[in-house]
Amino acid sequence: MDARNLRAAVLAAVAALSSAAHGGGQEDKLRSKLSQPFVENVEWVTDYKEALRRAKEERKLVFAYFTRSYYP
């Protein structure tokens, strides 16, 4: 993985731990989560098999971040 991209992903994900999803409905919460800087500023792959395929092709490791939209 590109070192700069990884650092951006890590810092953004770590910062996301202290932020809370806002909004009333579940859809709003998901939209709020996906609009956070840690999502917008990193080129995330959201399909697991695709992530593994590309990692194998590019001979890289996968940085996998699991989160939820309905709670921080």
Partner: protein, 223 residues
């Protein structure tokens, strides 16, 4: 390769609880470092992440170091698989560092190897870290019952006597166990060392009352 998985509670939407299938748990957030075949090299889950953030143990630099160990493990394993015997020792060290093998298996892997003093010191540190992580994890998974704490304390005291103190994620718990023993025995040197260790591992916030008790014990010994 950054992969993002967001679990939702949107009605009518079928969410794949991938994390539970991969790790058997659903503690959000969780960071995994995976190989291209999906094998987990490193797991940082919610209990670790929240504790590490509050004590300052987690930073981009410290994470980058962990990632570096993972990458070196994979590269060294490839060399070992290709028959490069010179890579075996370093591969075993990395495997121990990320928990792929335990201390006993590591001991067998390096038996008879010719070690430089520097490598011996490094191996002692890696081994101490691995033992610390294993005993603390066992203690925590027991629900911190007294028997498990005593067993963990016994192992930690062996490490203390050997002179190589862990500097891994659970080093604060190591110093807590050592400090608790030091408080009971009144060993001034151990009390001082425990105080330093707890302060260095961010213990001020988590173990404030214990630190105060230790200082009082030290002052009492000095009088």
């Amino acid at each position: 390769m950054p992969f993002l998985h967001v679990t939702t509670r949107i009605e009518g939407r079928k969410d794949d609880d991938l994390l539970a299938r991969m790790t058997g748990g659903s503690l959000y957030p969780t960071v995994l470092i995976l190989e291209a075949d999906g094998a987990t090299l490193l797991k940082l889950d919610r209990p670790f992440l929240s504790g590490a953030l509050s004590t300052g143990r987690l930073s981009a630099a410290s994470f980058a170091r962990r990632l570096d160990v993972c990458e070196r493990y994979v590269a060294l394993r490839a060399r070992v698989d290709e028959g490069d015997a010179s890579a075996k020792l370093c591969f075993s060290v990395r495997a121990l560092e990320i928990g792929k093998i335990d201390a006993a298996e590591f001991g067998r892997a390096i038996a008879g190897a010719d070690l430089t003093p520097e490598l011996k010191k490094r191996i002692a540190q890696v081994r101490a870290n691995a033992v610390c992580e294993a005993v603390v994890a066992k203690m925590r998974s027991s629900g911190m019952v007294p028997e498990a704490q005593r067993a963990a304390a016994d192992e930690c005291l062996k490490l203390y006597e050997a002179g190589t103190h862990p500097n891994s994620d659970s080093a604060d718990m190591y110093w807590w166990l050592v400090a608790d023993h030091a408080k009971t025995t009144g060993n001034a040197e151990m009390i001082e060392r425990s105080l330093e260790g707890l302060e260095a591992t961010g213990g001020r916030e988590r173990f404030g009352p214990l630190l105060d008790e230790l200082r009082k014990a030290l002052d009492a010994r000095a009088k």
